[in-house]
Amino acid sequence: MANSTSEGTMRLEVFRYSPEKGEEPRFQTYEVPFRKDWVVLDALNHIKDQSDGSLSFRWSCRMGVCGSCGVMVNGVPKLGCSAFLRDYYPNPIRVEPLANFPVLRDLVFQLDSFLEKLKSIQPWIVRRDGEKPVSEGEYLQTPAQHARFKDFSMCINCMLCYGACPVVGMEPHFLGPAAIALAQRYNLDSRDQGRDQRQETVASHDGIWQCTFIGECSAVCPKHVDPAGAIQQAKLASTVDWFKEVLWPFGGREKR
């Protein structure tokens, strides 16, 4: 980071917790230089490098694609690398670990529950009639077919949506926005034939039907995946399925 002349300072109140010390969590206040192109992550790194190496947080790409640095900034889920200090300056900001997850240390949260939920929706191409040999080339997929699932494939697994969803906080078994969006990503991929297989998990009480369409997941999503849209579309599709099954029990609904 090049040296630009200091443009003032800014106060950060950062959540601190160390399991070894057996203490209650607390907030620690730091003063950092304000630079107009700095993001919250730059401020955290400044603290760690210059004054307090004991502040633990996750980060890597710093360009909004790896999903590591999700935190709460003033109570709103944000990527640390995309939340600019200038949007808050000169007011102090409060940085906390992402909501609705257990906290392991400082800003580091435990995300294993998400990985379990991700695995449960079978996030891979399912072919009931087997995969064709590579020698036959690619599965054809027109740009229009690709567009159907494209947005849902943009999820970086940052889990800001889980941090924004009150239902995730209250119902730990709720599959949650990202997992359902990823299920839809595969369900809508023309190469996949696994929607029926996923329905048991996706269209369950802990799946789409736990969602009350608060919509904050889509509002905080940094990649515009629109998980709320994925869930409502899945609800609509499941409801239509149900009607079809009730009205045409022996009908040849095309199995996917």
Partner: protein
Amino acid sequence: MDSHEHDVLIIGGGGAGLRAAIELGESFPKLRVAVLSKVYPMRSHTVAAEGGAAAVIKSNDSLDKHAYDTISGSDWLGDQDVIEAFVQEAPTEMLRMEHWGCPWSREPDGHVAVRPFGGMTIERTWFAADKTGFHMLHTLYQTTLRFGNTKWYDEWFATKLLVEDGRCQGVAAMEMLTGQVHAILARSVILCTGGAGRIFPFTTNGAIKTGDGMGLAYRAGVPLKDMEFMQYHPTGLPGSGILITEASRGEGGILVNKDGYRYLQDYGLGPLDPWPRFRAMELGPRDKLSQAFVHEDEKGRTIPGPYGNVVHLDLRHLGEAKINKKLPFVRELSKNYAGIDPVYEPIPVRPVLHYCMGGIDTNIHAATTLPGLFAAGECACVSINGANRLGSNSLTELLVFGRRAARSAAEFATAHQGLATESLKKQANDEQQRIAAQFIRKQGGNERVAAIRQEMNTTMESGAGIYRKEESLRATCAALAKLKERFKNLRLDDRSVSFNTELISALELEFMLDVAQALAHSALERKESRGSHQRTDFAKRDDQNFLKHSLAFRTDGEPRIGYKDVVITRWPPGERVYGK
């Protein structure tokens, strides 16, 4: 000392590591496989790659053309037998990715689309908009979830290879959550730990690219090959170093200096028209483009900026529709991190450190000189990239060599069943004591991690940057030796054990200093200019003396540099010709 046993252990959960895991899961289901990574796999830096992955599938292309482009791009330092195997396996690997669901961008008729890329004779770069690495990584990770038998060590940091009876039999690794070191034993180990861009101050690389695996192998006696060859990507954002993909030039973007002049025509890459044109102008190889910037800068024709001088990458003539369709991420990054919208304004860019051509010495089977140890991806040097890598070859390399490493590791594991468990546990225990003594319980010391790291960054950029000379390299070698001494005086603020990220950054810095030394000394000894290693005191390529790979061996003092021949099959060394 807690120990765990596996057949194959993969260190690193990026593109190469996950491809290896899939190969083992699919073709060797009986083997007990584990993937150990210091971050959750979807955070691996493969995720940040943008432009695409090259493979021959169109009828206007041929394997020989891909091979020739790669070989000439490498300034003839690439091993041609490996390159021939690479270009041959590439199309199959890419089709496998497609079958696993990778959302390749398509032509209107549904076939996979390809785009032009730097140094390639014809368009052959498969792409997923401009987030190819992201889509590849997530496709690979989600596909590995199919194999329930793989054990995942997420957020575990490997600190040392465990070697016994002349064989690599696992690693000592710290569970980051508890700070406790375990002995993870395995009949074969594959390193897929990525490059070491964080040695330099301005880099496209994320925080995790600290050369850990290179350091692990180096300390176990395996040489690091061609470390002096570090690629500067011509178009990174100033200050942050964030990558602006080569695809922006593949789609027709141009580079201009402060006079709006397309300066690359002055450096053997012209003529200007027609544009776009393969292997010409802005689609030249990355080393030449980065070097051209330095010359423009010296002539005072670059544009001053708050984070150093820049040139302009102009995409305006592509139009909003094309940018939104083919380069949406470039638009987003420019708006967020450079404050400009490329539809209306040119993007300020400059060369930033991007990729390590060099790495752990491996052969065509991804095997290192240490039995039981294999390596694939950016951390390895086979070498297909030689002195300069062509864009979009590395994503394909992950797949081809991830698979090769898996197969070699599986074969080795099956043939070598015994594990010297007790000695290995003792080694891991010693490692735990070392870390406790050197960092957690250390008395005294007054150096900060960030201070040593920043000085390492500064000396690498000034002495071992795009242009080097004896004087600057010697200064860097001396500075690195001093930094290693100062490292002994490190004192951490954080003396806890649970999720101590300061400790992790100290261990990473320790690896980076080793890798930086190997780089600087290899560069000092290579008295020629080739590809991305440019010496102002030895400005010509010297095939007579240096058509060889450098090998850096660790010693107690400075690295010892050796050499080995480059394999030439069908393409005798020639001139690199671009522009025509």
